[in-house]
C-alpha cells in the first residue's frame, strides 16, 4: 500500500460497516438501503449525510493547481510484469513531477485490493481493511491512478480500479499496483505526465491521514 493508511481488522469487519463510536455521522435521515427508489421519493438536499472527522476542518475546502507542460503518453505492460515496478521504471527517465492515468484494457493474473472498514482502535474511525487477493485471471473494466510524490520525491502510486473475476462478478477498490501482475492480456494505460505541479503527500489536519495534496512545484 502506497499511501499511509495503516492498520487492519478482521476480515469479518468487511461484511458490515457498523458505525464506530469514534465517529459521528451527520445524518438528517439515514439512506440506509441499497434498494433503488424513485428520485421523487427523496429530497436530495436533505438526504446526503456528512462525516465528522477527528481533526479540525480547514479552509479552503478544495485545493488545486494548474499543471505546467503536461505530456500525454500510452504504455503497454506485458504479461507477467509487475505493474507498479514497470510504471516506475518506465517513467523514471522522464523528468516529471507527477502524473495521472487510467486503465484502458488488460487483465491481471494476481492482484490485491482493499476496501474501507470501521476501525476498532486508534483515532482514525475508518481504515483500509486486510488485503483482498485475487488469484484467478482478473479482467480490468476500469482504473484510475495518480502518481504523487512523498516528501523525499519518491513516486507514490494511488490507484482505484475494478475488474471482473472468472465468474464475471465485478469487484473493485483501492488497488495495489505493486502487488498486481499482468495476466493473459497486456495492460494498456493512457498517462498524462506533469512537467510541473502535481500531488505531494502531506499530513491532513482534518482526517489525520497522510494524503496527496496539490502542489505547484517541480521535481528538483
Amino acid at each position: 500500500m502506497n499511501l499511509s493508511f495503516h492498520g487492519a481488522t478482521s476480515a469479518s469487519a468487511i461484511e458490515g460497516a457498523d458505525p464506530s463510536p469514534l465517529f459521528k455521522l451527520n445524518a438528517v435521515s439515514d439512506p440506509a438501503t441499497d434498494a433503488d427508489y424513485p428520485r421523487h421519493a427523496h429530497n436530495e438536499a436533505n438526504t446526503a449525510r456528512g462525516f465528522c472527522h477527528p481533526g479540525t476542518a480547514t479552509s479552503p475546502r478544495m485545493l488545486s493547481v494548474q499543471i505546467r507542460a503536461p505530456q500525454d503518453m500510452r504504455i503497454t505492460i506485458p504479461c507477467g510484469a509487475n505493474v507498479g515496478k514497470t510504471l516506475r521504471d518506465a517513467l523514471a527517465p522522464h523528468h516529471y513531477s507527477g502524473a495521472m492515468g487510467y486503465i484502458c484494457r488488460g487483465s491481471a493474473r494476481a492482484l490485491q485490493y482493499h476496501v474501507i472498514i470501521a476501525a476498532t482502535e486508534g483515532d482514525r474511525p475508518y481504515i483500509y481493511g486486510a488485503p483482498i487477493r485475487e488469484s484467478g485471471e482478473a479482467t480490468f473494466i476500469n482504473g484510475t491512478v495518480n502518481f504523487g510524490r512523498d516528501a523525499n520525491g519518491a513516486v507514490l502510486l494511488h490507484c482505484h480500479g475494478g475488474y471482473a473475476d472468472t465468474n464475471g462478478v465485478l469487484h473493485g477498490g483501492h488497488l495495489i499496483l505493486d502487488e498486481t501482475v499482468v495476466g493473459a492480456e497486456p495492460l494498456v494505460m493512457h498517462l498524462c505526465l506533469f512537467g510541473q505541479g502535481g500531488f505531494v503527500q502531506g499530513e491532513d489536519e482534518e482526517t489525520h491521514y497522510k494524503l496527496l495534496q496539490p502542489y505547484a512545484g517541480a521535481l528538483q
Binding site: 427508489y37 424513485p38 446526503a48 475546502r61 478544495m62 499543471i67 476496501v115 482504473g143 484510475t144 473493485g172
Partner: protein, 148 residues
Amino acid sequence: MNALSNPSSDGLSSEHVKLESGHYGRVVVARIKPNEDLVGALEALCTTYGMQRAVVRGVLGSLVDGRLSYRAADGVRERIIKGPGVEILNVFGEVTAAAMTNSNSPTQLNAALSGTDGAVYAGRLVRGANLAFITIEATLQEWITESA
C-alpha cells in the same frame, strides 16, 4: 460551432445537431476535502480557473455514501451505495463551470463506484449527494471550443 443543415437519413431534422471543433487546453488537479459534493466541487474548479467546460481526465477517492441515478421505464431512479467509504473507481464526463449550470448542457458525470464489500456499481452521479469522505483527487482538462 456548426449547425448541420442536411436532413438525416432517418428523416429526423438535423437542425439541432451541433458539431463543435476545438482543442484541449489547461490541465488542473485538485484535492476535494471531506463533505464537499463531487459534482459541485468540479464545477467550482472550472469556475476558479475560468474554464467554461472541461473533461474529466481522472477522479479517484472515497465518498461518505454514493448515490447514482439512471433512467428506468417509470422515470429516473436512484441507487444508494451505503458507506462510509464508498470508493470512486473512475468518473467520466464533462464539467460545465458553475456559472453556466443553467445552460443547455449542465454537468452530468457518470461514475463507477465500489461499496465497502467490493461490489461495483455504475451510473450518473446525483448532484449534491456524493460527498467526499477522506479525500478525492481530480484531474480536469479544459475543452476550448473554436469559432466556426
